[in-house]
């Protein structure tokens, strides 16, 4: 019967293990426990049946929907000896990614650990220069200045506003009674009624979603904003980061690397259309359809950084923005062309279309404006 038991035929098990290895080679995180599950799942099934082989493996070793195509490919290659026929766009992608790496030449943030004192001395210098740098547009900065700016940005913390959750925690002046603690205390007092304990609904940071334009017109800013996205991600657990040019790419996973430069390099590999054209409307529509609808931005703060130079249909952008503004809590738009001036009239068509659905418009062209964002965020309730 179906007792979980690994079959005796050793060669067969080794085939399954080899297949699991193949999957690991494709980048799937398959633990030995999963392989064990696969082997014992095959025990009551028919190893000669390809369908059993396929489904048992898929149900035990795949944990996310996006892994399914990878699994399918590996399965075909391993069990059916099918030559990989990579779809054309994917090949194109790989070539592009290689180019991208050379484009993203960011100066190293951590110049090496041996000369820490030296670095500290430099940091001191930067502090005195910081005021000047603060108001200098990123586009006008030298690589050295940018490196020091990025060090300052790494220390900035983005804190989204809080919201009240349905989860409660003990509180001195809460509103709901805490019977569990009250009874416990009463028991401790040998049944003498004790004071009543209270609970209160907890506060929690709202999710923060950054959607960054990395197209040609925004290339100067995107690098710094990626850095900013990285520090935001480090400061707060629930941050989602997306990049778009001609299409939308989620780079949250890539930013999970520990070192800034590793993360940036990884992100650059993920974003294929670095410095391509801009299709804001289509990209935002993709975001709303594939991510927003699933609740990624529900109750959250969405920060879009783009100049609004959309080459697509403005109607698409308007619809996407309208849906987005209904799905999330607040929309913040960072437009570097806004500059420091107070009187900014949106001039690009995309910006004009999007404006009615934007809660706050900031510039994001220099450090001061990013600080402004950091200061504004917690107040957006």
């Amino acid at each position: 019967m179906g007792s979980p038991q690994v079959p005796d035929e050793a060669p067969f098990v080794s085939v399954l293990v080899a297949f699991a290895d193949e999957l690991r080679g494709e980048g799937l995180a398959v633990g030995s426990g999963d392989v064990l599950s696969y082997c014992s799942a095959m025990a009551p099934l028919d190893p000669a049946d390809l369908l059993d082989l396929y489904w048992a493996g898929r149900t035990t070793m795949v944990t996310r929907r996006d892994q399914i195509p990878v699994y399918d490919r590996a399965f075909k290659r391993f069990f059916l000896d099918e030559v990989d026929s990579l779809p054309e766009p994917l090949r194109h992608t790989i070539r592009n990614a290689a180019q991208t790496q050379s484009v993203l030449q960011v100066p190293a943030t951590e110049p090496g650990t041996d000369d820490r004192r030296d670095q500290e001395a430099k940091l001191g210098l930067v502090a005195s220069e910081a005021e000047v740098l603060r108001n200098k547009a990123f586009a006008a900065c030298t690589p050295d200045e940018l490196a020091s700016l990025r060090r300052i940005m790494a220390r900035m913390r983005l804190a989204p506003p809080k919201r009240r959750t349905r989860r409660t925690s003990p509180a001195r002046d809460g509103r709901a009674p805490d019977p569990r603690r009250t009874v416990r205390e009463t028991m401790r007092m040998h049944g003498e009624p004790s004071k009543v304990f209270w609970r209160e609904r907890r506060l929690r940071l709202r999710p923060l979603i950054l959607i960054l334009d990395v197209s040609g017109s925004m290339a100067d800013y995107s690098r710094h904003l990626l850095q900013f996205a990285y520090s935001a991600k480090r400061a707060h657990a629930r941050v989602e980061v997306f990049c778009f040019g001609t299409r939308l790419t989620r780079i949250t996973k890539a930013l999970e690397r520990r070192r800034v430069d590793d993360a940036m390099e990884q992100a650059a590999k993920t974003v294929f259309d670095w410095e391509g054209g801009t299709r804001i409307g289509a990209s935002l529509a993709t975001f709303v359809r594939d991510w927003g609808r699933r609740g990624v931005c529900r109750g959250g703060i969405v920060v879009i950084c783009s100049d609004g130079l959309d080459r697509g249909d403005p109607h698409v952008l308007a619809t996407a923005m309208e849906r987005l503004s209904r799905l999330c809590h607040r929309v913040v738009w960072m437009n570097p062309h806004k500059g420091s001036g107070q009187s900014f009239q949106p001039s690009t068509l995309g910006m004009m279309v999007a404006a009615p659905f934007v809660d706050i418009l900031l510039s994001g062209h220099n450090l001061r404006s990013l600080e402004e964002l950091a200061a504004t965020l917690p107040t957006l309730n």
């Binding site: 019967m1 179906g2 007792s3 979980p4 633990g31 426990g33 999963d34 599950s37 014992s40 799942a41 025990a43 009551p44 099934l45 369908l51 059993d52 489904w55 048992a56 898929r58 149900t59 035990t60 795949v62 944990t63 996310r64 929907r65 399914i68 959750t165 349905r166 989860r167 409660t168 019977p179 569990r180 009250t182 009874v183 009463t186 028991m187 040998h190 049944g191 709303v288 359809r289 609808r293 699933r294 609740g295 990624v296 529900r298 619809t319 849906r323």
Partner: protein
């Protein structure tokens, strides 16, 4: 006659079909493996493709009790595992005299089974393999709650400090569903088998509807399924699921319609499309939806 557990995937498929659920090969294999290995299964998929339904049907065809835990934000141990009946405990304390309270047994009974309120998870562990535990829409609970689930999903045991550890002799069949409103923790996923349920093929969807809504005309069903597939191709904010298709066929049946045309689509579209923006898109092309022209 109900069997304890199926011997083959084909048998499971047949049993599910008798219960009115048409599972494809993938889902049937996943469920079969879950039952053979006594592992929880996490089912993800588009809305309305029958994720919750499969647990209900499993319970009924195998004669097990369905224990359902609907997840929501802020759900905690009190609502999911167990809770002490504080009101009764208080009354009991008041009823006991000083002398009794000094006695250990009196206090022990205060934290005994008499005052323990079972919540779904504890109920399921107690019931063991007599139950199907459905943890519905686990993505709606906050991530703190997932941590509660870990002990139960890996060892099928619950630890109550005052009572001790309660362990299932034979674990219940656990079905978790998620709509992917957020990514679940890897720790939770590692303890589960995983299956993704997509939309069925048109032929299968017709089959499903004829099983779920007996008595509807097959010709009408075919037309509705074709129309629903055209709707899914439209890039709507909320594409209709199988549940919506069934609703639509039933709606048409109730109205006594036998054919699908622009007028009937317009009058009954509320059964399938439930978003204003989407309605505008659909209404712009009623003829195309109804007939595919």
């Amino acid at each position: 006659m109900t069997v304890d557990r199926p011997e083959t995937v084909a048998e499971l498929t047949r049993i599910l079909r008798q219960g009115g659920y048409l599972a494809d090969r993938g889902l049937a294999t996943a469920l079969f493996v879950a039952m053979s290995l006594d592992r929880p299964i996490l089912i993800e998929g588009e809305v309305g493709v029958g994720k919750t339904e499969v647990a209900k049907v499993l319970a009924s065809v195998f004669g097990r009790r369905l224990i359902r835990l609907q997840c929501y934000e802020g759900i905690d141990t009190n609502q999911a595992l167990y809770e002490w009946d504080y009101a009764r405990q208080m009354l009991q304390i008041r009823a006991l005299s000083e002398r009794h309270l000094g006695d250990d047994t009196a206090v022990d009974t205060l934290f005994g089974p008499k005052f323990l309120l079972e919540r779904p998870l504890l109920e399921a562990v107690r019931a063991g393999d007599q139950a199907v535990l459905l943890i519905d829409e686990v993505d709606r609970a906050d991530d703190e709650f997932e941590a509660f689930l870990l002990e139960i999903l890996s060892d099928f045991q619950i630890t109550i400090p005052e009572v001790g550890t309660i362990k299932a002799v034979r674990p219940p069949l656990v079905v978790l569903t998620s709509n992917r409103t957020r990514e679940l923790h890897d720790a939770l996923k590692r303890r589960c088998l995983y299956h993704w349920v997509g939309y069925p093929s048109p032929e299968r969807e017709v089959e499903i509807i004829l099983v779920r809504a007996p008595g509807v005309s097959e010709a009408l069903t075919r037309k509705v399924v074709a129309a629903v597939n055209r709707l899914r191709a439209l890039d709507l904010a909320k594409p209709p699921g199988v549940a919506e298709t069934i609703d639509w066929v039933r709606t048409l049946e109730v109205l006594g319609e036998t054919d699908l045309d622009a007028r009937t689509v317009d009058e009954t579209i509320g059964a399938v499309v439930k978003e204003r923006d989407d309605l505008d898109v659909v209404r712009a092309n009623l003829d195309g939806i109804a007939t595919g022209a």
